[in-house]
Amino acid sequence: MFNGFTAVLYREFTVYRKRFFKQLLTASLSPLLFLIAFGWGLGREVSVGGMPYINFLIPGLVTMSSLNQSFAISAEINISRFYFHTFDEYLIAPASHLEIVLGEALFGVFRGMLSCLIIFLYVVVFKVKLSFNAMFLPAILLHTFQFSALAVTTSMVVKDHSSQALVNNFVITPMIFLCGTFFPLGKLPSAFNYLVSILPLTYSTKAIRASLTGGTVEYSHLSIMGLFCLVFFITSMLALRRVEA
């Protein structure tokens, strides 16, 4: 009954194992650069949101890095659909759309979670004191799932590789810079506040930062994240159905 789900995960993990070091290296570099530039560069003296900037920055990097890694499955599914046509194997097989979407999305969750471990390693190396709250787990799960599901949706809607790059440049990157990842939201002009309040990353950042810096994780934020998970899951199912038009 779960044959499609298992098959998708078998494929993704077999390929991932082969590319492990390459992918690990890729996932390690950009957070390290951010840490060097803003962590060391700005120094520990700068204080933001009532804490040393590096403490403020690290949860932001966790959010950014896991978002990038989870969303990266989008480009790969896109390649498998339009370039290698391997995705057709799933569609021809006796497997439901639900299994395919869930398999891909869970792989995205895995990739996102793994990138967090890299940053926690940096935390040790840079001797940053974080306070770790158990609410981090549900927060990171919801966070990575919503962007994995968004990635699946995108890969099903987008028709070629350049449109995929367009989504990365015009949706993902601006979101990373606007949603409180690198600076507190209150500093932006109020017009931005409306925009930011409808973007899913805003709530992820709030919840994840609170869980790592001794704040309280708001249930309302987790609920909104859950809602985004549901919405993007539904859109990916609808988008996949449209593929077989």
């Binding site: 499609g4 298992t6 098959a7 078998y10 494929r11 057709d88 021809i92 006796p94 077989e244």
Partner: protein
């Protein structure tokens, strides 16, 4: 024998049809890719869809395998509606698409294993089944090599092996030998014939190679512009237009005249004022006679 689109009579003998289609249509915007075709196939048949580029062969195969939704029409496998019983039908179907769609980052073995899991095959005997299939396809030496290093012929073999792994009753092959050199093509033909003979798998193949259709298929459906314009056994279809052709090379182009016997053709040849050649009829001539065009230009 020539039907004008919808296959008129369905063979209602004791044999159950494994696949039946009625009024199958696919429209892309204003372009009609498949224009109301129908057929009924029995177990163990070797069928060919022969037609020029853009005739609608791939679109037909995609509808029959569930990759593309028909705009209209019915598909039944063993009497059961395809869309009402997708899981049942999809287990029966094996498909070799026009473009090789192997996972290039996986080895031959891993590609087959992925397929085995996807089709819910039994975990315990899986490894042996894959090994047997690699042997059957003559690919044992390639077992643990990355697919991206394979030649076109080896890839094609592996795609066919993969489609056979779950022991489908019906195998669809979309242009199985396109782009392969003559020797490799021959070896793929032998492989497909072996599948049909040893496993009694029903085979539905599309091609625009006349020779491929004539040699392999016991029944050919000639498709043009999304319609079936002729169908039958290759030898009978040829007999119907005459066994021999006299090709007359005139300034405006080649003219063809059909004859029942070589002797008649040779007599006509002697009377001709133009350079001529006598040869046996092919399915290309059948196509030419109906449409006024050639399959391969």
């Amino acid at each position: 024998m020539y039907s004008d689109g919808i296959f008129p009579t369905v063979n209602q003998t004791a044999h159950q049809s494994v696949l039946q289609a009625k009024g199958l249509r696919k429209v892309y915007g204003s372009r009609v890719a498949v224009d109301g075709i129908g057929f009924s196939f029995e177990e163990g048949e070797f069928i060919g869809f022969l037609g020029p580029n853009g005739a609608g062969k791939t679109t037909t195969i995609k509808m029959l395998t569930g990759l593309v939704k028909p705009t209209g029409g019915e598909i039944t496998y063993f009497g059961k509606d395809f869309f009402a019983n997708p899981r049942f039908a999809k287990r029966i179907i094996g498909a070799v698409p026009q473009q090789n769609n192997l996972d290039r980052d996986l080895t031959a073995y891993e590609n087959l294993k992925l397929h085995a899991i996807l089709y819910g095959m039994d975990r315990s005997g899986m490894s042996e089944k894959i090994g047997e299939m690699l042997t059957f396809a003559g690919l044992t030496n390639y077992r643990d090599m990355q697919v991206k290093t394979f030649s076109g012929g080896t890839m094609r073999r592996l795609v066919i092996a993969r489609a056979l792994l779950h022991e489908p009753g019906i195998l669809f092959l979309d242009e199985p030998t396109v782009g392969l050199d003559p020797q490799i093509r021959r070896s793929i033909w032998e492989f497909i014939v072996k599948v049909n003979n040893l496993r009694n798998t029903t085979i539905i193949l599309t091609t625009h190679y006349i020779e491929e259709a004539e040699r392999l298929c016991r029944r050919v459906l000639i498709i043009n512009d999304g319609k079936i314009i002729a169908e039958g056994r290759p030898d009978e279809m040829k007999k119907e237009i005459g066994q021999y052709v006299l090709e007359i090379y005139m300034e405006e182009g080649i003219n063809e005249r059909f004859f029942e016997s070589r002797e008649d053709a040779v007599i006509a040849l002697r009377d001709s004022r133009y350079p001529c050649k006598v040869r046996e009829v092919t399915l290309e001539d059948v196509f030419l006679k109906i449409t006024g065009r050639r399959i391969n230009v």
